[in-house]
Symmetry: C2
Subunit: 134 residues, 2 copies
DNA sequence: ATTCATTTTTGTAATCATTTCAATTTTGTT
DNA sequence: AACAAAATTGAAATGATTACAAAAATGAAT
């Protein structure tokens, strides 16, 4: 599904900037920060403002087409894959990897201890296989 | 186990400030922010500096006697309970609750996809039972 | 097409959590 | 008591994020 489709389905007006951000997220599954997104898009959209990237991502999160990851203390990271999956942050290289949800992939509870659950995040931290080899 | 014991076992020198922070964490399982800890302790330790609270918590995390939670985007929160357990953040009242780890409590993998796992965080967000009643 | 209202984008300035850093104080050892 | 090392402190810097108001773009109605 392309960026325009995703936005239209969510009822988000597909402006040039929004399409660019969604397209970037959809094609770069690296869980980029605001800065990374801004730096990547600024050359092709010279008038782009970092505020717009912030606004856009906030809108995406509100409309459920993107999730914000707080796995990294320094920067928020964003992921257009909103299906349930876990994340791994390498403490050495800082890369964030996608992982399958551990154990309860198909049995996500709607409630725990009487608390209604809307969002679930599973974060792992350690050294990635790539960094371990060295 | 009291605060002094915890610090001594971890090889952390038990200064007045460190004892106060650890004692606060051990007796207030509310996952407080730096500000909350500082505000709570400042009256009884008039010379206390917020920097000291930051330094102390960093030291605690490095020595494995406290974990930092990034469940709340705005502030880091701290928990002296380092046993594996999950957290629930209420989007309405902002409180963070302890939960039991879902499903893999006793089967925490040491490695996933070749990545060596050092830390695991499981965050849930939604509306807590308390807020739902109203 | 033109007007007008609404929405979106933009840049600047403000906010606020966290870090840096150097000076001071405290602590432990001789 | 004297000294070195460690801990604390406060002020200033950093840096991500937000607030805000002006400018630009869009869409609907005429």
């Amino acid at each position: 599904m392309n960026a325009r489709q995703i936005l239209e389905d969510a009822g988000v007006r597909p402006s040039v900037q929004r399409l660019a951000v969604m397209d970037y997220l959809a094609t770069h599954k690296t869980h980029p920060t605001v800065d990374e997104i801004y730096s990547a898009l600024a050359p092709s959209i010279p008038t782009l403002s970092k505020t717009t990237v912030y606004n856009t991502l906030k809108l995406f999160v509100e409309n459920g087409v993107t999730q914000m990851l707080t796995i990294d203390e320094q920067n928020s990271r964003y992921d257009a894959d909103v299906s349930p999956h876990a994340h791994f942050l390498c403490s050495k290289c800082g890369k964030v990897y996608d992982l399958q949800f551990v154990d309860f992939a198909n049995t996500l509870p709607e409630e725990i201890d009487g608390h209604a659950i809307k969002e679930v995040y599973q974060f792992f931290k350690g050294i990635c296989s790539c960094c371990a080899e060295k």
